[in-house]
């Protein structure tokens, strides 16, 4: 198996299996039928998953050397530019491969049940398998161009899938919005790549990373009179790309909108894989980011802002999928924070655990939605526990992982991030620390608000729906269970090896951290195994904040369901009820429950009005408006046309002859 050619064909097979599945489902769907289509896609992805496990074993367990090679040369340009398709398979890639193919496989299986009655069944499998292909290309890239190709391809497919069910009226605007928000990010990303090509003269990761230190200290002037560090400009431009794809403030607006797509898509693309591409990319670029503290600070602050403020928004949502969507935004913020403090390993680790539990939550939500006959409003749910036991228990595990309950996967990854922020001395780390801590509280609050509203309490659905409530078929519950297991144990099993046992060794050369940024190495000194980490975690503020959030949610949505509405009016009641149990003072209660809700609503409205309304819709509207006005210049009259020509001639003459 150490034969490089052999490995190379395995890598190729990983990428091509989903592509072939996709092509069969898409182009020959009419011939192979519905079951043929789902078998083709599922088998393709399953092959990729199994081979990814092989790669994982080779690279990580057996410590085989990483692979970096060209598969085929796309183009050799006149000026010595090589554009290749190549793979770089190292520890980082191996982890991503397993995560992507595993979640993808689970979603594919689940889709068989979820999309059962949909007329676009074959098409859907074609897209999801194609998406998997593009994501694998992105993850395995060994050069920037291929990265960009994967980047654009996943974006394009997600754009197609968001619109899978779009109603006709809103279709144009909402899709244009997602498109524009992503394009802003892509523009930054493309510029970043352009700067890299200009200064390094190469598109290959290895060449660029090797000479990264050489351009430290070089400057460029974006406009005359200003000198900016090349590496900072590059990193920030690349990060703008990551902000678009990973939905960081202020380019996050498209992600809640994307919930219009079918739920399996939300799980696959908008929770587990595509949105984490930005995180992966920054981690992959760690050899560059490490040299720019400014860029790291920007990353850190953007991440912290997203982590806290987006979580707040989750408090006021009533659509079950939107709660999970805002939670995704917040968790992406956490990963970004980890990148900002150079704890790349922790960020990737959280990416991995998050992929499991967030896919689980989305698929659980999907299971609920199907049972509720496509009702998504949590105010019309409640008491589903007794109808859907498997969904209930798996979602509970997912929720516990999300809030970072000790022992769950989320606990290890999130706690590692929070401790890393605490230990970091990057500018802005103290603010970020506060933000991520508060974020823990908010996370617990909205997660269990959702959980209680959906599964506990009185059933608020109509009689017809109630009569037809039942657990989902096995193709849907099986992936839930399969995802619940890693959500529970991934932290226990992997936190040690990935983060602390041998800091800096696990990821080999895939991730570069400068010694004075290396917070994880610092933390590793205190590491004495997962159990002691859990015990230690019990004394962390993060744990207590999470518990507080959980408890507040319990009180507000189980015990006193009138509280959320009356929170502001009856602050005294809130105060007395909560102060007895937790001893938090009145101000905090006001702030967190009442104020938090208010602030959340306020931000949400501002968000809609300002960012959606002005920035995104504004651009879309402006283009459409200008376009519709300018077309009237095209009057259809010959003499107008001739006159325009003569005016053009006059202007050119004036410009060049007279001046």
């Amino acid at each position: 198996m150490d034969d490089p050619v052999n490995m190379q064909s395995i890598y190729l097979a990983i990428v091509l299996a989903p592509l072939i599945g996709s092509l069969i489902a898409g182009l020959f769907g009419w011939k192979v039928g519905r079951s043929g289509a789902h078998w083709a896609a599922n088998i393709g992805v399953a092959i990729a998953f199994l081979l990814s496990l092989v790669v994982f074993k080779q690279i990580i367990l057996d410590g085989a050397p990483s692979f970096d090679g060209v598969i085929y040369t796309w183009l050799v340009s006149g000026s010595g530019l090589h554009l290749d398709v190549g793979f770089r398979v190292d520890e980082l890639t191996a982890i991503m491969l397993v995560v992507v193919t595993f979640v993808s496989l689970m979603v594919h299986v689940y889709t068989i049940g979820y999309m059962h009655d949909d007329p676009g069944y074959n098409r859907f499998f074609c897209y999801t398998a194609l998406f998997t292909f593009a994501m694998l290309i992105l993850v395995m890239a060994n050069n920037f161009l291929q990265l960009f190709f994967g980047w654009e391809a996943v974006g394009l497919i997600s754009y197609l899938l968001i619109g899978f069910w779009f109603k006709r009226e809103s279709a144009n605007y909402a899709s244009l919005k997602a498109f524009l928000a992503n394009r802003v990010g892509d523009l930054g990303f493309l510029l970043g790549i352009a700067v890299i090509y200009k200064y390094f003269g190469s598109m290959d990761y290895s060449t660029v990373f090797k000479s990264a230190h050489a351009i430290v200290g070089q400057t460029l002037s974006v406009w005359p009179g200003t000198e900016w560090s090349v590496i900072t400009v590059t990193c920030i431009l690349l990060f703008i790309g990551a902000m678009g794809k990973s939905a960081q403030v202020p380019l996050h607006v498209w992600l809640p909108e994307s919930m219009e797509g079918p739920t399996p898509i939300s799980a696959l693309i908008h929770a587990a894989t595509m949105v984490t591409a930005g995180i992966f990319m920054v981690a992959r670029m760690s050899p560059l980011f490490e040299f720019s503290e400014t860029a790291l600070s920007v990353v850190l602050l953007v991440g912290a802002t997203t982590a806290f403020f987006m979580g707040l928004l989750g408090l006021v949502q009533n659509d079950i999928k939107r709660v999970v969507a805002y939670s995704t935004l917040s968790q992406l913020g956490y990963m970004t924070v980890a990148l900002g403090v150079s704890a790349y390993a922790a960020g990737i680790f959280h990416l991995m655990t998050h992929a499991f539990f967030k896919a689980l939550l989305f698929l659980g939500a999907g299971s609920v939605i199907v049972a509720m006959h496509h009702e998504q409003d949590m105010r019309h749910m409640g008491g589903l526990r007794k109808y859907m036991p498997i969904t209930y228990w798996t979602v509970l595990l997912g929720s516990l992982a999300l809030i970072g309950f000790p022992g769950s996967a989320g606990f290890f990854s999130k706690d590692a991030i929070i401790s890393a922020v605490e230990a970091s001395n990057i500018p802005g780390a103290s603010i970020a620390y506060v933000a991520v801590l508060l974020g823990v509280f908010v996370t617990a609050l909205y997660t269990f608000r959702m959980f209680f509203l959906v599964f506990h309490g009185e059933g608020r659905m109509d009689q017809h729906t109630r009569d037809h409530l039942h657990e989902s078929p096995w193709v849907m519950t099986l992936p839930l269970i399969a995802l619940a297991i890693p959500s529970l144990v991934a932290g226990l099993m992997w936190a040690g090896p990935v983060l602390f046992d041998h800091p800096g060794v696990f990821f080999g050369h895939a991730i570069v951290v400068l010694p004075d940024h290396d917070v994880l190495r610092e933390m590793a000194h205190h590491w004495q195994g997962p159990l002691s980490f859990m015990v230690h975690g019990l004394m962390d503020p993060a744990f207590w904040l999470a518990m507080a959030g959980l408890a507040v949610a319990y009180v507000c949505y189980m015990v006193r369901t009138d509280l959320p509405d009356l929170a502001i009016a009856k602050l005294g009641v809130v105060y007395t009820v909560l102060v007895e149990k937790y001893g938090f003072d009145r101000f905090n209660e006001f702030f967190f429950v009442g104020g938090g809700t208010l602030l959340g609503r306020f931000l949400w409205q501002k968000d809609v009005a300002l960012i959606d309304g002005v920035v995104v819709n504004g651009t879309a509207n402006a283009v459409a408006w200008i376009s519709s006005v300018v077309r009237y210049v095209q009057s259809g009259f010959l003499y107008h046309y001739a006159f325009a020509m003569i005016l053009g001639l006059l202007c050119l003459l004036g410009w060049f002859v007279v001046a």
């Binding site: 006159f643 005016l647 003459l653 004036g654």
Partner: protein
């Protein structure tokens, strides 16, 4: 003398050209155009291009313009409609024209197109037609052929766009007329010499 003639004809040419687009009456406009061609021909004579000048008069004045006048007189063009909005657009038009003129003056007004000397006049024995003929079929054979192809295309295009066989149109086919046989024209009918039933 030569420059006096040049300026004389040029002035007439410009005045006539202005008249073509300003006079109200279509026939007068066409006649002004005839004057334009005449004065251009005169200018060509000054340039020793006698053959071309003659051709211009023969072809354009003699053939094209006559045909044109013929068409103008056949079609009753309503000039008032065409002139609608003339005053409305006049200021804009004048502005554009003045700007254009100013720009042209700036560019071309000062003397010298690279200071090429005028070619020496040819002796009286110089045969314009012969020179033209020999150069047209040797040096310029390619452009000449191309021009002829363009004319061919113009013919094809004109026929393709205007020639159509309407249903019900009556026309003669000389070939069929010539090859007509007796049997086509005369039908012999056998008729009885007398009625079978006598008149009452």
């Amino acid at each position: 003398m030569e420059s006096f003639l040049f300026y004389l004809f040029s002035t007439i040419l410009l005045v006539a050209a202005t008249a073509v687009i300003t006079v109200r009456h279509t026939v007068r406009a066409a006649l002004s155009l005839v004057l334009v061609f005449f004065t251009s021909a005169a200018l060509w004579v000054l340039l020793e291009a006698e053959f071309l000048a003659v051709t211009l008069v023969v072809v354009y004045v003699g053939a094209v313009m006559v045909l044109f006048l013929f068409v103008v007189m056949m079609i009753d063009t309503n000039t008032t409609v065409l002139r609608e909005g003339f005053t409305k657009y006049l200021p804009l038009g004048v502005l554009v024209a003045v700007t254009m003129a100013a720009e042209m003056f700036l560019a071309l007004g000062s003397p010298g197109f690279g200071g090429m000397a005028a070619p020496a006049p040819h002796p009286a024995s110089y045969n314009n037609v012969a020179e033209l003929g020999s150069i047209l079929y040797t040096q310029y054979v390619y452009p000449f052929e191309l021009a002829s192809v363009i004319l061919l295309v113009a013919i094809i295009a004109a026929i393709a766009l205007t020639f159509r066989r309407r249903p019900g149109t009556k026309y003669q086919d000389p070939a069929r007329q010539v090859s007509v046989r007796r049997a086509d024209c005369v039908r012999l009918v056998q008729m009885p010499a007398a009625r079978k039933t006598p008149a009452p």
